[in-house]
Amino acid sequence: MAEFLQQLINGISLGSVYALVALGYTMVYGIVRLINFAHGDVYMLGAFAGYFAIRTFKLPFFAALIASMAVCAILGVVMERIAYKPLRNAPRVAALMTAVGLSMFYQNFTIYRIGAQPKAFPKMAQVNWQVMGVTISNSQVLILGTAVALMIILHFVVQHTKMGKAMRAVSLDRDAAMLMGINVDNTISFTFAIGSALAAAGGVLVGQYYGVVQPLMGALPGLKAFVAAVLGGIGIIPGAMIGGLILGVAEAGVSAIGFSTYRDAVAFAILILILIVKPAGILGKNVREKV
C-alpha cells in the first residue's frame, strides 16, 4: 500500500512536470493552431537562463525564475515575429517545419556555444515530508502546485478575460477578429510571450528539481508534453494538466509493475487507445463538421 502510494506520488510529480511543459504547448496551439515543436527547447533555454542567472549573476532562485521567464517571453515574441509571422497565411505544415528547424537550431546552437555536457543546476534546500509512509519533497509540491496554479490562472485568463476572448477570437478567425477591433499581432505576440514564459518557468523548476540542465533536455519532455496535451485535448488548458498527470502516472505504473523496458510503448499505447475512444482527446469535443 505504502509502495503503491509512493509510486502514485512519483507518477503525479512526473506528470506535473509534463503538465507544466504541456500548458504552454497547448496554449500556443490553442491560439495559433501551431504545434510549436520548439517549445521543449524554449523550456531548455529557460532552464539555462535560470542556470546562468544563478551561477553567473548570483541571483536568488525566485529572481532567477522571473528573469528567465522574462528572457524567454522576449525570445518567444522575437521567434514568432521572425519565424512564424511570415507564415501565417501559409500552409500549416510550413510553420510546423519551421518549428522543427527552430528546435534543431536551439539544440545545436546551445551545444555549439555551451557544449553538450550537462551542467549541475543549483538545487533548493531539500525538505522531505513523511506522510503515511510516503515521502514527499518540497520540490515535488512546488512543481505540482505551480502547475495547478498556472493551469487555473491560464484557464481563467483564456476563458474569462477580455484578452482571453481576444486570443480565442484570433484563433478562430483572424480577419473577423480584426473587425472586432482586436490587434491580432499583439494578441499573438502576447500568446507567445506567455507560452514561452511558462516554458521557462517549467525549465527552471524542473532544472532545480532534477538538478541538471543540458542542451537536449527539452527533447523528451517536449515530446511527452506534446503527447500529454493531445491526450487531454490539444488547445484545452485543463486538458494539458489531465493529460500530463495521466501520462506520468501511467509511466510510473508501468515501471512499478516491472515493465520499465516497455514504459514508452505502454504510454503511447494508452494514448492511442484513448484517442480511438475519444478522437479529440479526453476533454476535446469530437464535433463532426457541420455541412
Binding site: 509502495e3 509510486q7 512519483n10 551545444i111 533536455m217
Partner: protein
Amino acid sequence: GTKPAEPAAPAAGEQPAAEGDIIIGGILPMTGAIATFGQSSKKGVDLLVEQVNAQGGVLGRKVVFVAEDTKSTQADSATAIQKLIQQDKVVAVVGEVASSNSLAAGPIAQDAKVPMVSGSSTNPAVTEVGDYIFRAAFIDPFQGAVMANFASKDLKAVKAAIMTDANSDYSIGLGNVFKEVFTANGGSIVSEVSFVSGDTDFNTILTTVKNAKPDVVFVPSYYDTVGLILNQAKNNVGFPAEVKFLGGDGWDSPALFELAGDAADGHYFSNHYSPDVDSPEVKAFIDAYQAKYNEVPDALAALAYDAANMILKGIEKAGTTEGPALRDAIAAIELNAVTGKIKLNEKRDPVKSAVVIIVEDQKQKYFTTVNP
C-alpha cells in the same frame, strides 16, 4: 539531379592538409544524442595531434586530424567513414564512440583496408568485423565481471539490483554480464529495471529497486544519467547508505559529482585508469588537457587520445602508412597509455587491467586493481 557531392570545406580553425601530411580521420558523434561523448573524444585526439606535431610529427611528417560528424547515427557513420577513406585518403580512422555506430563503419574500413581504432566501443562484436578493427577500451564482459566479482567478493553482497538504459547496448551488455557472474557467484538478482537515455525522473524505478532491498545496485550507464540517479536515490527516495551503487567506466566524468553532489559518495565504479594512479602518462595527460581546455578530462577523452595514439605509434613502428603494414603494427602494439597498458590479444582487444574507484568527498579515489 544526381550530382555527386563536392568535398566539403574544412571547418574554420582546422588546417587543410598539405602534400606529405599524415591524415588521420575521425568519425565522431559531434551532434545528436551522444554529442557529449563525441566532443570529449575530439578534444582528446586534437590534444594528441597538437602534442605530436609540436614534437615534429610522425615519421617527420605533420599529422592532420579530420573529424566527420556522424550525428550519432549508423547511416551517417557509414557515410562519414566512406568519405574519409575515399575523399580524404585517410590512413586510419579513430572512432566511432558507440559500438552500434562502430559496427556500421567497421565493414567499410575493413573492405578498404584502412585500420579503424575505436576509443570507447566496448561491445565484443566491434572487432569481430575484421582484422583492421581495433579498440582502446576493454570489453563489456570483462568490465561487467569485474564489478560482479567485486560485489560478491569484496562487498560480500548477495542481493543485487540492476538498472540499465534500455536504449544502450553498452548498458544492457554490462548488465547481462554482471547478472551472469553475480549469480554464478551465488548471489541473486532481486530487481531489474530500465530507463532510457534522456530520462530525468528516476523516482519510480528507484522506489521499486529500494523496495526489493538489494545490497548493491549495479547501474552501468553514463555519468549524466548516473548523476541524476544517485542524486534522486539519496535525496528523493532515501536509499540507506549501506546500499552501494556500482557502475562502470561510463561514470567517469567530473560532471558526475556536479550532478550527484555528495550523493555519489561511498559508491564504486570500474575504470580504465584512475587519476590517482601514479602513472606519468596519466599525470601528463591530465595536465596537458587542463592546460588546453581548462577542464578535467573524462574517460572518453582519455580513450580517444589512446586510440589515436595507437594509430600514430603504429605508423611510427611500421614506418609506413600502408594499410596492411599499419594493421600489423597496431596489432602488435604495446603502449603505456593513459587508460592503462595496452597490449592487444588475437581478437584485437586490449588486455588491460581495470581499476575500481570509490567516490569519497566527491572525488575519485583509487580502491583496487583487477587484472584480467
